[in-house]
């Protein structure tokens, strides 16, 4: 690979890349883990094979790209430069796509998106509501580049921000821009990034370390995974700019163990950047050197906490430390350290390129820029979205998300992962940013947004998160280690019909104790799922305790399923769905559940097209 020893060489190299030719036909196929799990790579290979067989491979590029975001409808194929989007593409659709839309000028209706209940098909990504309401800054290029080929990133302008920073800006000026942009940490803490950088720059000690937190432990969140897999160079470029500004020459990217593709793509990205002299020694021929190492997690949610993460990189178990001495003074290996989240780093090149004012013009009063969310759960359009801060929950869930799946009723939205809370329909008009959700007992968090419907039991949700936290507690603080376990036991009692009203009071009391006596965020925020569900869904707790009933039909000991003989159309779907053969019934006779055999899995209720399965 060509060593680029000056900005002039970089620009000359960039100008020569054919990938920069926007008129050149290209088939892009989403290569994120989600689409791969759905045979996305087979679709890509089929395109390569068939185009070669037709001798079209010289004229039409095939590119496996980063995440396009519309995960519910994968595998996703976009034909450039037309911008034609085909969804749910199978390998045996490829021949028709080539014949109709590449060799010909036509479109294939059955592979195009349509709104539920509508007749017309929508062929352009930009016209689909899921995309139209978004503002993609961090994800602007993910769908256009092959993350394992740095030249694609260069072709869309990659590393021009680093070049600008190194050759036309002083470190103090860079930090000034980041401060004025009002960029706040995207991992959930929301700490002002510029202030953090300045503190580390001012600290004494050498070497200084730059860390990228790619631990993303919140269940239901996969924003950082998609950035690491889909546009790893944007993270490296951001880190290099930060390192230059702070005075560091060593960086670590900490990736959780459950993301093997992210580790691999980052490894390739580092290698290629070094080969181009965009990383490593004397970057672009300047005095600035910056080396990046990858450090892997090994399965510990607490390692997303910055001091626990550092302990892990140092080769210890992930026990957090009290923060009366800031990381910017003494962090990794007791040296000044600046740690930021993946998404935070990915925003840095954009701010340097377009200016701090451009960035500060997007978003709400106290929360500037965009935020990436993983919109999942009982929502129609599950996937990754990027929107300006300040958009309401309602707009996100209904305009972009398409509303609740299977026409069920909205019940709650959970944000902030296990540290966050659940908000009911009455709060849907709240704006999503760092402050508004926190004001009502929840938080925006890292970006996981989980939609729940009327078949979700909110007490069980609290139990689920509390069990998770109790398992993931590092064990250091008595309040966290013992207190969360006691909370879990109380919630377990309530969901299995052994709860009392005193349990609720005890839960609230233990919550206060755990919050006040834990040194890290895991313990401090552990009571949030319980407290927010008690605040907004107290009647559900009461039903479990006083009536020994689970209104949502989830808690097995408190639920009995029954098929309503008036509504049952005897279609037989439930009989086939039942894993323990507990349902009997012949054609035209109402089906019956044998309660002795029934394991309360709810499969029959899920599959019944007539809603004939009721809860007693």
């Amino acid at each position: 690979m060509t060593k680029l020893t000056s900005v002039v060489e970089l620009e000359a190299y960039r100008a020569g890349l054919t990938a920069g030719d926007k008129t050149r036909p290209c088939v892009t196929i989403c290569g994120g883990t989600g689409c791969r799990a759905n045979a996305g790579l087979q679709v890509a290979q089929m395109f390569r094979n068939m185009l070669k067989a037709k001798k079209l491979d010289e004229k039409v590029d095939v590119r496996t790209t980063g995440c396009h975001g519309f995960c519910e409808r994968g595998p996703l194929v976009v034909l450039l430069p037309k911008g034609l989007l085909y969804i749910s593409v199978r390998p045996n659709d490829v021949e028709e796509i080539i014949a109709t839309s590449i060799e010909g000028d036509g479109t294939i209706e059955r592979l195009a998106y349509k709104l539920p209940g509508a007749k017309e098909r929508i062929f352009r990504e930009s016209e689909i509501p899921f995309y139209a309401h978004q503002r993609r800054i961090v994800f602007a290029n993910s769908g256009k580049i092959d993350p394992t080929n740095i030249d694609d990133y260069l072709a869309v302008g990659g590393y021009s921000s680093l070049a600008k920073a190194l050759t036309t800006m002083e470190p103090d000026q860079i930090i000034d821009w980041i401060e004025k942009s009002c960029l706040r940490g995207r991992g959930g803490g929301g700490f002002p990034t510029g202030r953090k950088w300045r503190a580390c720059r001012n600290a004494e000690g050498y070497p200084k370390y730059i860390i990228c937190n790619g631990d993303e432990g919140d269940p239901g969140a996969f924003m950082d995974r998609s950035i690491m897999e889909g546009n790893p160079q944007s993270i490296l470029e951001g880190m290099a700019i930060g390192a230059y500004a702070i005075g560091s020459d060593q960086g670590y990217i900490y990736v959780r163990q459950e993301y093997p593709l992210a580790v691999e793509n980052l490894r390739i990205a580092i290698k290629q950047a070094q080969e181009h002299q965009l990383l490593g020694q004397n970057i672009l021929g300047t005095d600035f050197s910056f080396t990046v190492h990858i450090s892997r997690g090994a399965g510990a949610f607490v390692c997303g906490e910055s001091t626990a993460l550092i302990a892990s990189i140092e080769g210890f178990s992930g026990e957090p430390r009290a923060k009366h001495i800031h990381m910017s003074e003494k962090g990794l290996f007791a040296k000044p350290t600046n740690l930021n989240n993946v998404e935070t780093w990915a925003n840095v090149p954009v701010i340097i390129d377009k200016g701090w004012k451009w960035f500060a013009d997007i978003g709400s009063d106290n929360s500037k820029g965009t935020k990436v969310f993983s919109l999942v759960g009982k929502v129609r359009n599950t996937g990754l979205i990027e929107v300006p801060m300040g958009m309401t929950l309602r707009e996100i869930i209904f305009d972009i998300g398409g509303g609740v799946a299977k026409n069920r009723q909205f019940k709650a939205v959970q944000t902030g992962g296990p540290s966050g809370g659940c908000l009911p329909a009455s709060e849907l008009n709240l704006s999503v940013d760092f402050d508004q959700l926190a004001a009502v007992g929840s938080m925006m968090g890292s970006g996981g947004m989980i939609v729940m419907d009327d078949r979700t039991c909110m007490v069980e949700v609290a139990r689920y998160f509390t069990e998770f936290l109790s398992r993931e507690s590092c064990g250091k603080c008595t309040a966290c280690r013992e207190g969360i376990m006691r909370m879990y036991e109380l919630l377990e009692n309530i969901t299995t019909g052994r709860g009392t009203i005193e349990d609720i009071l005890l839960l609230e009391e233990v919550s206060a104790y755990v919050r006040e006596n834990s040194i890290c965020g895991l313990g401090k925020s552990a009571p949030n799922p319980t407290l927010s569900t008690l605040k907004y869904f107290r009647e559900e707790y009461i039903a479990h305790i006083e009536q020994r009933r689970c209104p949502a039909g989830v808690c097995k000991e408190l639920t009995t399923f029954r098929i309503d003989p008036e509504t049952c159309k005897a279609c037989g779907k439930c009989i086939r769905a039942c894993p323990v053969e507990a349902i009997t019934g012949q054609k035209k006779m109402p089906h019956v559940i044998d309660e002795d055999k029934c394991v309360k899995c709810g499969a029959c209720r899920e599959i019944c097209p007539f809603d004939a399965v009721t809860i007693l």
Partner: protein
Amino acid sequence: MNRVDDLIKKYDGQASWLVMLLQDIQTEYNYLPAQAIEHVATKLNIPITRVHNVATFYSSFSLNERGKHIIRVCDGTACHLRSADNIRNEIKRQLGIKEGQTTPDKKFTLEVVACLGVCALAPVITVNAEYNGNMTPEKVRDVLAQYD
């Protein structure tokens, strides 16, 4: 322990790389043998309690021998809401083992993962490196049948 020595050399014998060293050892042996743990402590010149501490703290490490195929059932929030429990129970029922256990013929080990990050396809399980999304209890038998 020659292979362990090679891996220690790969990390320059530095104790700060302990977590990744143990991961590589586990990839080699499919678990962390007690002998390997002792060897690492000696060669890295660190207390064996520290190696044990790390090996038992992180959930991806196994101190017991594991099966040929590792099944991981995702228990993330999105999968949980889409009844991942039913998938897990069906696997347990068919294989006759509990979470963390290995079948007597050493073919399958069942593990639970906090979140795989493939939430749009919930509920998800992986077998080795292969992802299976949109799982239902009915699909379990066919998925497991693919593995010898």
